[in-house]
Symmetry: C2
Subunit: 443 residues, 2 copies
């Protein structure tokens, strides 16, 4: 064990960047959505910097926004995660590969099989970002009129998790003896039929794939509601979360780790990784200029639509180049609304600038020199705001290359981030134990 | 266009071979089920021989046979096809990659996305082996007590095909303009919402992935019933079929091509590829010895179980080393029963030898020198028994290497098989046109 707590870094990726204006940034690769060559280049660079994992967000519908805004960004289409991450598995050696999959719109037998298969293909580098799916439009692509109710989604998710992990345990780790002499390929005593019958799912098993290399692939949770946090505390190996600042991060961290203790889990068996949008410059000014330039690439059609949704009020009547006027009360999400209004006041943003910020990216950001960013990350780690971050790059490839060339060496110099991979599996990178098999002791 | 009709060759693969005794053959790799390294070696060798495609069978349950027989073979577990073929996409350049996916136990939005994604990742080499799933045990892994009735499965399959191809057409080929200057990423006039509502499926769309490189990935059908052949004639680009001999192959070929003409399709727009189990030797005797040796590796537990199922009669009371006695009439499939009895009589097989044949592999086989095998393949081609074959290798790697080193050059010498890939996509390898988009003309 290294002497100080170590930072864990995931790369939270969309092929062109999560920022909706990034495809227009000078030097960006707007065609990365369907360019395997580009994505291979990204993941190999991240691996050279010893990132814990490469993580693909995923959605089961085109984003739910007006086509007038949608057409302005690169986010409508992209590769499907299992196919992409499997292709990346064969061009990488060590980096973890985390795919998003929905418990609301898929079947546990398929999910258990695919992650097990990715885990075998990658020699133990697979992770499952378990989501209940937030985009309500997905329902209509899967034969339903309405999205399943929020808490019910989480009840199904919990049962789904139980079934998937149960299927992963279908075979003991040493079930396959392959004795050519006697002709015994597997030991039938090391095979179990799950025979699950529950409120939402009925799945017999066994899984037609050997137990994953990691026992169970790493399970990640990304919900922040009461039900989401509880599910994470009970089951997850890592949590991805959107936290606006360190104070909120510390509350979230204490809350989830406290819930873990109450269900009898060790605090260090779950890593909390908030998303952080990182813009590196050789000076603070340069970093801030890049950040500001990026926002100018968010088209008005997209920015004003996003701002109107966030405020719950159509901003068309506002002067785009004036400061934000008083906004009438509405029944939009109050916390989202206040966060946006506070941001406008604090930074003195015009309506257009605010729209560009909200339409582009407006969550936690770290903008500055490599030292500034390392300071901030170290503070989160030391003060228990997080166990690391899911880094979002503002534009690609330059934003990623800057982070790898400048911030990573600074973190390594401080002794809070690895210089070489010590383990081979994603569980080992994250410092997580390999789960035992519920049916077979010590295997 | 080459002057003579060309043979098309797929490799119909299980990682260790389809023959259940193959893992015990001298020099075989019994651990290939979870060894990406081995499978990569197979596919790269096939690509060096210009095979049209690599094709993975798939099942959504452990094979439905007694565990006592199951434990004797390598067929119970393996990689999942999408993850495996995607990983293979990044270590190959030209060979087609065909994955099996079920219309009974999956969702059209998932299937359309994954094949589109594999098609983008592989630059147009994806194919879908559309199956309705024959193993009734799969139902119990997907929340159902019983398998859907045969003809209903095919009605759902047809609607499923319509939805998947409709989703592939969501975007015009030139929808993504990516104009950084004006900030227009896609042209909204080149996006269509499918809005399908049918007897079995209700799917809104659009798909969140660009139109596949091939327009539509190649669609393959593997059913041979009346309903299966009709679906193939109406929709498929290729048919995989089990035909016991040339006479049966010619009848099947004429039947399916005739059905195509009646629905207004050109005969050459569907390739018929029967499965052929090929054992190559430097002499006929050597080939036959290898074939016989292979069968001895089928364990009695597995052979007698398979033979009892095929005959509809428990063979435990028969003398294993005697000839097959009279078998009482039963209500097992009559054609399967008679085929097996005829085989025993024609070749003078003992009960054990017959059991080993049936438990190992008992369909169409070509056993002989490279010249013998090329003669036989050429005859099928010339007499319109097929447009090529799905080759099954008896054991790996040697059975595959022998085919590539000996039979392929002989086929090339005769001018009926390519020496280099002329096209880049699987459609081009198979000589199939790229489908137009139902919503957008000439695109
Ligand atoms: C960092 C982060 C990443 C997420 N990624 C996805 C994703 O890729 N796909 C998805 O459908 N939902 C994603 N979500 C949404 C969550 O899974 C969840 O559905 C949403 O936060 C609502 O859940 P809650 O009500 O528990 O907060 C993500 C959420 C966060 C915070
Ligand atoms: C060559 C061949 C390959 C097949 N591969 C698969 C397969 O991988 N998975 C599967 O579930 N069924 C497979 N099948 C079964 C068929 O898809 C189909 O379900 C079966 O032949 C019964 O259909 P039918 O009643 O139309 O003949 C295959 C059949 C043949 C002939």
């Amino acid at each position: 064990m290294p002497p100080t707590r170590q930072l864990h870094l995931g790369a939270f990726m969309r092929p062109v960047s999560l920022h909706t204006g990034a495809w227009r940034f000078p030097g960006a690769w707007p065609d990365a959505n369907f360019s395997f060559r580009h994505i291979k280049r990204f993941v190999q660079t991240l691996e050279s910097a010893c990132f814990d994992a490469f993580f693909m967000a995923d959605h089961l519908a085109v984003l739910n926004m007006p086509v007038n805004a949608l057409k302005r960004s690169h986010t409508a289409t992209s590769f499907e995660p299992f196919t992409l991450l499997s292709a990346l598995a064969s061009v990488t050696e060590r980096i973890g590969l985390i795919a998003t999959a929905s418990t609301t719109f898929d079947e546990p037998y398929h999910i258990a099989r695919r992650f097990a298969s990715l885990d075998h293909l990658s020699d133990g580098r697979a992770g499952w970002n378990l989501v209940t799916t937030s985009n309500p439009d997905a329902a209509r692509n899967f034969g339903r009129d309405e999205h399943m109710e929020h808490d019910e989604r989480y009840r199904r998710a919990h049962e789904f998790y139980d079934v998937v992990t149960g299927l992963w345990d279908s075979w003991a780790d040493d079930a396959f003896v392959r004795d050519t002499e006697s002709g015994l390929f597997f030991d039938p005593d090391k095979l179990r039929v799950l025979d699950h019958k529950g409120a939402y799912l009925s799945v017999r098993g066994p899984l037609n794939i050997a137990r994953p290399v990691q026992g169970w692939p790493v399970v990640v949770q990304a919900g922040s509601s009461e039900a989401g946090r509880q599910l994470a505390a009970e089951t997850a190996d890592a949590v991805f979360t959107a936290q606006p600042n360190l104070a909120a991060g510390k509350r979230f961290y204490a809350d989830v780790k406290g819930r873990m203790e109450r269900v009898g889990r060790a605090r260090e068996h779950l890593k909390i990784l908030p998303g952080a949008f990182v813009v590196v410059g050789d000076s603070r000014d340069e970093a801030q200029e890049k950040r500001a330039l990026l926002d100018t690439f968010v088209h008005d059609d997209s920015g004003f639509a996003s701002l109107s949704i966030a405020l719950g009020h159509d901003v068309a009547s506002f002067d785009p180049d004036g400061l934000l006027p008083e906004v009438p009360e509405t029944n939009a999400s109050r916390s989202a609304r206040e966060r946006v209004i506070d941001m406008a006041r604090a930074e003195g943003l015009t309506v257009r600038q605010l729209a560009q910020r909200v339409g582009g990216y407006s969550g936690l950001q770290m903008v500055g020199t490599a030292t500034d960013i390392a300071d901030e990350m170290e503070q989160w780690l030391v003060e228990e705001g997080s166990d690391g971050f899911n880094v979002m790059f503002p534009y690609l490839p330059a934003g990623l290359d800057d982070f790898v060339a400048k911030v990573v060496p600074e973190l390594q110099r401080r002794g809070i981030f690895r210089r070489v991979y010590e383990g081979t599996t994603l569980r080992e990178h994250l410092g997580l134990p390999r789960p035992g098999n519920r049916f077979f002791e010590n295997r």
